[in-house]
């Protein structure tokens, strides 16, 4: 990692997002990266649905977890990494829409534990509709073999 790259959390987050094969599998794109805030967008795709034709709760969780986790990345040293310890997701409205926006924001920074909150929205013609929320607990990892980036 070059000297000029140190602290460039945006580049690091984009690089790590690109390495999350699961995000490509579900068709998600990283659309906003700020200090403490990350957004991920996802077009509706029937291959992501459950039996009622709406977005599967696990897909919603995947996008929210990545948004929350990368929001945590924006706070840490370039040598550190983030692992999700746990999260809770509330599904508030059926995941129907043309596309979906998932925002993760840091609620509580910390040197070891970071708490992030996420919101998911369905977007069609009208105003965005809140479909889900997440609260996630993330751990900052340093020097653990196999867990870098």
């Amino acid at each position: 990692m070059s000297e000029t790259d140190r602290g460039d959390f945006r580049a690091r987050i984009r690089r790590n997002f690109a390495r999350q094969a699961a995000m490509q599998t579900i068709g998600a794109a990283l659309t906003r990266v700020e200090h403490g805030v990350v957004e991920i967008e996802l077009p509706f795709d029937v291959k992501l649905t459950q039996q009622h034709g709406i977005l599967h709760a696990g897909i919603i969780s995947a996008a929210l977890d990545s948004a929350c986790g990368f929001a945590a990345y924006s706070l840490i040293d370039p040598e550190a990494s983030i692992l999700t310890i746990e999260f809770k997701v509330n599904l508030m409205s059926p995941g129907r829409g043309e596309r979906f926006l998932f925002r993760g924001e840091i609620t509580k920074p910390g040197s070891t534990i970071i708490v992030a909150d996420g919101r998911g929205y369905a977007i069609s013609d009208g105003p965005a509709k809140l479909i889900a929320s997440m609260t996630g607990t993330m751990m900052v990892i340093r020097g653990r073999e196999g867990i870098t980036g």
Copy 2:
């Protein structure tokens, strides 16, 4: 639905699992259906990983949510359906292994609210390793347009 089908929760669960496109997308198979217990298995696939090469937490959540939700299906009338209200997932060990087993079990049945607990295991040569747990709250849905099966 024919008379002989009434109460055949196994067939209903298999039919609904087959309609969950997200389960096909991640390569999951329904491997056990009992009254109050459902198991789903998943081979490791690099397309399901996050940046450290382990199973993405959202994929773990997808399989656990389906296992818990279908465990709830095993308790309800054929005309009713199940929606997940919320769940919490703890990621306890990295999702590394040849394949994964996800079991959902009913902790508290109910006419409106059903609580299920799930466990996820990584399986390679040795003993299965606990990688994740879920507690999910499911709602029994009756007569809501667009939500059947």
Copy 3:
């Protein structure tokens, strides 16, 4: 209940708060009641602590649950009631301070399920410090014996 009382959610919430003996036991006061928002305050008391001398997580949960639950009361018919189905609490900083403020706010209203989010703050001389958050799922109860008010 008199005709003029219909819809007076503030009076109903105050009456129900007064009937929560647990709130009196911990010394909590209802300090704000708006449509969708309720605040509860609590002076520090050594009798509410855990072994490190900070507020016990269960006491924090009690105040947040009441704040979230009564925020839900502000949305429902006078004949209905609210039961907490589940909640998640994150403890973000030690519960140290002269007094504590707990705010519950409605995130998603609903005829059966209401989702509320709560935040707890420690207050001393300086600015309020975020110590905890809650996401709670509440059920609207109608016509169940023994569950009124």
Copy 4:
């Protein structure tokens, strides 16, 4: 701490339980301490109720959190301590009964993060009734000022 006391987790847990003033305030007793399992019992007391006359969810959380936290204590060095990072509680049946039993058990030990699961039961004449469950994430604390024991 004397040499003979090293590793005597039962004595340490009893001592720390006795220092949790909140447990005395709610009338809880530590009734079982094993490696990885702790039980706390509580007689019904009207002063612990919410508006429907049942045990307040926060009181249930307090007892479950202490049971889970002390179960984590049974795994750690005498010099270390435990802080709850977060928990989720499901309230499955109204907290009615003569007394209540709360059991915390370790699901996943760890050097930094310990995951515990708890169950709460109401006990009267008949069989114990499951009223609540908890999954809690605990952090092992070492060398942090003001957090010992």
